[in-house]
Amino acid sequence: MNLLEKLDAAAAARKALLPDGVGAFGVPIEEVYSATEARIGDRRVLLLGTNNYLGLTFAPECIRAAHEAIDSEGTGTTGSRMANGSYSGHRALEREFAEFYQCSSGIVFTTGYQANLGTISGLVGPGDTVLIDGDSHASIYDGCILSGADIIRFKHNDPADMEKRLRRLGGRVETTLIIAEGIYSMLGDQAPLAEIVEIKKAYGGVLLLDEAHSLGVLGETGQGLVEKTGLLKDVDFITGTFSKSLCSIGGFCVSNHPQLEQLRYVSHPYIFTASPSPATIASTRAALELLRKGNHLREQLWRNCTQLYTQLKEAGYRLGPDPGPVIAAIVDTPQQALMLWQKLLENNIYVNLILPPAAPEGKSLVRCSVNAAHTQEQIQYVGDVFTRLRALI
């Protein structure tokens, strides 16, 4: 099989799962009306396939900030921060993230993916070890691969399994980076952070927590799982993304370790890429301010999450263990997942279809992302349609 024929084989595998005319991946969204509604084809649909957890995509403060930044600084930075310089907005956002997490420093990356890629590959290298949760996001796996460190997995959310593997590393634990996530993106479950921290204290190692899905969602001020559990000071490095609760694009890492600053000189995903645009930085700064003061948004979000989780549970769907903004219905086969996804779209509800190998343990998922802007009536409608469709699978 030559190079291009390998891609033909991948296309054939995709076609076997998704017949012609079914565009479940990369769905064309023609118009966006609000944080909760858009047009797909000729349908006005409810959006439950975005990660807009606080519903801030149309927040006037963020839109105004982005407009002003374009007017004053232009549309793009046209280069990397290392070679072309840092705008005042980049530096201000880094200070604001550091202050938000009560850390001594912060670094902004161009995407959330690059935040993990750049942080991990900057912290560890050949001869070091990364101990990661088996259900880690692809950005974590890719960061580990880029680093050249030895990659060891522990069973998902299983502290005893993590302890066993950390113990097995013996003296190598001194150069081991442990990685977990605040909320896991597939099933919406939360890391057992207290147990992970205890094990790390007993054996050693450095702990990185990715708060991509938990930023804005968990904790009094929205810091994430570190705030909910009161363990902020026990986590060495925190990464996260702007593309979920903060409604733009980019990522960050914060830490109290002064060595974080050295990543600017060793991390390729930070150095060799264009810096975030002025509009992106400005809207993110405005959104971070809203997120910090957004207790009312978190309360509404959690009301919506609990309502939908309860309704789907009562309808007999298999779900992840924790209610939260990511609510995934687990079905037995890709065909069932595809049918459920199509029926939901026919009922003007857009959700995410997740097929193996993207989902853990060969599962097939129909995943909803709930947000604070959804009304009670919208959530009720989604729950009612899911309930009606339950008999089909």
């Binding site: 088996g134 030895d150 990659i151 066993k164």
Partner: protein
């Protein structure tokens, strides 16, 4: 390093692989994990965790890039387990 250690590793791999696949193939050291057993990446990673526990070793998943056959997997486990012996 002994033959019996190596045989023990190979036997356990064959046993675990047999339980993991529905393919009607007699598993031998030359069996290709991907083309003959259709082991996908997730199954292979989970198998590695089982093998780590069975032999009390740490097997970096990046080392799997060079593994295609049962023999190559057995060689890797053997090398890690007995490298310092």
């Amino acid at each position: 390093m002994t033959d019996s250690n190596y045989k023990e590793i190979t036997a356990l791999l064959c046993e675990r692989l047999s339980a993991l696949t529905n393919v009607d193939v007699e598993i031998s050291p030359d069996t290709n994990l991907i083309s003959q057993l259709s082991i996908d990446s997730i199954k292979l990673l989970n198998l590695i965790m089982e093998i780590e526990d069975a032999f009390d070793v740490s097997i970096p998943i990046n080392a799997l890039a060079d593994v295609q056959t049962v023999r190559e997997l057995a060689d890797l486990v053997y090398k890690i387990k007995f490298a310092s012996s």
